[in-house]
């Protein structure tokens, strides 16, 4: 009997010790930091969907595509100005016509030379089914009117006057494609990207990692680090643990829970910037009770935005005062935080005929911080006699139901990837976009509609600024949405990482990074 027990114990012991030995060996065989200075490893929370810039508009795909591709123009985030990239210069011929001079000597990763025909091809493809995801970006461009003057000159025509179109050209999704590469890869182009950017694509292990390497024929200054590996690590805590234990050099999207840990770690640094997203509570102004402006105002008086944001986000982001993110051009940063005054809220509800109270549902998707926000607001609304039930939906269902207007209150956020306030004002507030097209508050104000159209067509300057500020003031008075939070990009990196800058657009350049 004793022999069997001993044998069993030995087997179990062997397995455990083998595991431990392998473990120790593993940590010992980790690549030596000093020798791998030529590889930048970045942790990202979700895999890219497609490396075809026209294939998907999600930030994870754009994060990779930014390193591989170039656009005609780029937005200089420090000055909020459009500056040349693949287009060396541009000239406005009339309200609908722009001429671009292209940079010479630019090569694609497959060796092809970048020419005007590639620009034409890129726009033409964007209006085919292959570019369905980015259709709304090019909806203002008259693709049929694009004219190649010579190899390095191209004329782009618009359907309606829209000076903000120059900002659209800086969108990652309108990166320049090579006709030959796209056509030869066919349906598989999304897995075989070819750009003109500082890094070229090497390999993609789905759900695991994407590898890039420096493009030595780049037209401008080369990046300092030779190889970039983007690892997909979905769990926020794991991204930070990998950063702490040396598995990655940069961890994107540090979650609220982990901010402090990175801050307190002497070997790490934290990059933070308020981004271009706004999280808001939408009221369905198309039906009772929110068709009454007094009810919407009452709710805004009942909610203490500052404490909602601080409790749910614990210091990440800041309370929003308007619907246009503060870094965006023409944002009205003079707007004040709305007043928190439960007494006034009760008064307004009484005036609106809800003196005996109100029963409602607040909808949210399953993101933890949003559910927290909903719970805090639930308590605040109880104070003024409003009984709120929280309903949590999975994203697909949430997206569809709110688009159909089945909700009364909902939590959502909107991120603007192009520095142009029209990108949030038109979809969310224009009454031509009711429901699934963006205006999930079913808000309709002819004055706002007219102002949105007018401001969009205006040339940059004070008049345009005034028009945009007027819109922002009206919508804050009408309150179809109650802005709650300006999101923040929080990125952790090792101390020896230099040259990284967090972008409010949530897509970060990796090609300027070097090691100290």
């Amino acid at each position: 009997m004793g022999k069997i027990i001993r044998a069993c114990l030995i087997v179990m012991l062997l397995v455990v010790s083998a595991a431990v030995i392998a473990g120790c060996g593993g940590s010992g065989s980790k690549p030596d930091a000093a020798k791998t200075k030529d590889i930048l490893t970045v942790a990202m929370g979700s895999d890219a969907k497609s490396l075809d810039p026209q294939g998907s508009r999600d930030i994870f795909s754009n994060q990779i595509n930014r390193q591989i591709y170039d656009t005609l123009l780029v937005m200089d985030e420090a000055s909020n100005k459009i500056v040349p990239a693949l287009a060396e210069s541009y000239k406005k011929i009339d309200d609908l016509t722009y001429e671009f001079k292209l940079r010479k000597g630019v090569k694609f990763h497959n060796g092809e030379i970048f020419k005007a025909s590639d620009v034409k091809f890129t726009f033409e493809r964007a209006i085919t089914p292959a570019g369905a995801s980015i259709g709304s970006l090019v909806s203002n461009i008259d693709v049929g009117g694009i004219k190649v003057v010579d190899d390095y000159t191209i004329i782009i025509k618009l359907k309606t006057p829209y000076p903000g179109f120059l900002a659209v050209l800086s969108a990652d999704n309108l990166s320049m494609l090579n006709e030959k590469a796209v056509k030869s890869a066919g349906k598989d182009y999304g897995q075989n990207p070819v750009g003109t950017g500082k890094y070229k694509f090497v390999s993609w292990k789905r759900g695991n990692q994407i590898a890039l390497t420096r493009f030595d024929d780049y037209y401008g200054g080369k990046s300092k680090i030779k190889d970039v590996v983007i690892r997909i690590i979905p769990e926020g805590t794991n991204r930070v643990i990998e950063l702490e234990s040396g598995g990655v050099d940069i961890a994107l999207d540090v979650t609220t829970n982990d901010v402090k840990r990175v801050e307190e770690n002497k070997g790490l640094q934290l990059f933070r910037v308020i981004d271009n997203s706004v999280t808001y509570m939408g009221f369905n102004a198309g039906k009772k009770p929110f068709d009454d402006i007094r009810v919407r105002q009452a709710f805004s008086y009942a909610i203490d935005t500052k404490s909602v944001v601080e409790s749910a986000w614990r210091g990440v982001g800041k309370p929003a005062t308007g619907m246009v993110a503060p870094n965006l051009i023409y944002a009205d940063n003079s707007l004040k935080q709305h007043e928190y005054n439960p007494e006034k809220a009760r008064q307004l509800l009484k005036e609106a005929g809800y003196a005996s109270g109100l029963k409602l549902e607040i909808w949210t998707n399953d993101r933890k911080e949003r559910i927290d926000m909903a719970q805090i607001m639930q308590n605040m609304l109880k104070e003024v006699g409003v009984e709120v039930e929280i309903k949590v939906f999975e994203w697909g269902a949430y997206f569809e139901k709110t688009g159909k207007g089945e909700h009364s209150m909902f939590l959502m956020s909107w991120t603007v990837s192009i520095n142009d306030p029209d990108q949030i004002l038109d979809p969310l507030f224009n009454s031509k976009n009711l429901g699934a097209a963006g205006n999930r508050a079913f808000y309709s104000n002819p004055k706002v509609d007219a102002l949105i159209v007018k401001a969009k067509a205006m040339d940059d300057g004070d008049a345009k600024k005034q028009a945009y500020q007027e819109i922002q003031q009206i919508i804050m008075a009408d309150l179809p949405y109650l802005p709650l939070l300006n999101g923040e990009q929080v990125i952790g990196a090792k101390k020896n990482v230099k040259g990284f800058k967090a972008s409010p657009g949530a897509v970060h350049n990796l090609f300027n990074v070097s090691f100290e």
Binding site: C8, K30, D188, Q191
Partner: protein
């Protein structure tokens, strides 16, 4: 025996048809439009409508299902992902093998720990070692995978810095996922082994063997374990099957791009072709495992073998 195997493989056909039909129906009835999700928040309804037509989503349910079946049977083609536009199989097969690797190591781990622990507990019932083993097993069955996973990471990565917190390529990366995923199975197998062994070693024939003067190790390992093995194999088979489909928590915690994670992402994005393909692969794997388990019964137990002839 061969005839039996052949019959069982034929059984796969109605199972797969049933599975595809159920999954197709469920996906069809779930709210959430794939076209709207692909185009994202900033697309116009016209663009969504156009894409729906392009994808064939405007067709009636029966037409969509028939098209799927036709492509599956005639062309062995289950389509391309709605999201990445790459062929479904090119996404599912690598993910399946990663999950397979994870599930296999977890099952081996749980057998190697669970069966000996169960045997020891059975031959020394109510002893200290039995009590400790069974308490551990109770903890093992009660502990949620994600919690165990996080505890392991906290200890071995954060505190001791022995093991990496994510990945799956190297042995050291597989240790924590193996323990996290195999923990529950280990406990279940240990408890099953113990009860099954306890039942067997009290039977008359064991006393007879012992009276004949056989050594204790032969009695336990050949005569007792041989007969106790059938329910253990059943449990191991079931565990293996459920690990294949249910490794999603482990895969998420340890950043392993396996089938579970792929499927969850696909369901979220209403990427129907990937969900269909994934369920198909899991269903087939489950059937194959069941078949292997049934054949193993015959191998370990001559009485069952005689029934197959």
């Amino acid at each position: 025996m061969l005839k039996y195997v052949f019959r069982r493989i034929l059984f796969l056909v109605p199972v797969i048809l049933g599975v595809t039909f159920i999954v197709f129906t469920m996906l069809y009835l779930t709210p959430g439009d794939p076209a709207a999700l692909i185009l994202g928040t900033q697309a116009s309804p016209d663009q969504v409508l156009l894409l729906r037509q392009e994808m064939g989503l405007d067709q009636p349910f029966i037409v969509q299902y028939a098209t799927f079946l036709k492509n599956l049977i005639l062309f062995q083609d289950i389509g391309r992902s709605y999201i990445s536009n790459s062929p479904v199989l090119s996404e599912i097969i690598p993910a399946f093998f990663i999950t397979m690797k994870l599930a296999t190591t977890a099952v081996i781990f749980s057998m190697v720990i669970g069966i000996p622990a169960g045997i020891i507990s059975a031959i020394k019932p109510y002893s200290l070692i039995d009590t400790v083993a069974m308490i551990l097993a109770l903890i093992g069955t009660s502990m949620p995978i994600f919690w165990l996973g996080l505890l392991l990471i906290l200890l071995f990565t954060v505190q001791l810095n022995w093991l990496p917190a994510s990945g799956y390529d190297r042995i050291d990366q597989m240790i924590m996922p193996m323990i996290a995923l195999g923990g529950l199975s280990t406990a279940i197998i240990a408890r099953m082994t113990r009860s099954s062994m306890l039942e067997v070693i009290r039977q008359d024939y064991i006393r007879t063997v012992r009276a004949k003067g056989q050594t204790e190790s032969v009695i336990i390992l050949r005569h007792a374990l041989g007969n106790a093995l059938v329910p253990i194999i059943t449990v191991v088979g079931l565990q293996f099957g459920s690990l294949l489909g249910g490794a999603v928590l482990t895969e998420t915690i340890f950043s392993i791009p396996g089938l579970g994670r792929l499927m969850v992402e696909a369901i979220k994005m209403r990427d129907f072709p990937i969900v269909q393909g994934g369920v198909l692969v899991i269903a087939i794997a489950f059937c194959v495992i069941n078949l292997v388990v049934d054949l193993l019964y015959a191998y370990v137990n001559p009485r069952i073998r005689s029934q197959y002839k």
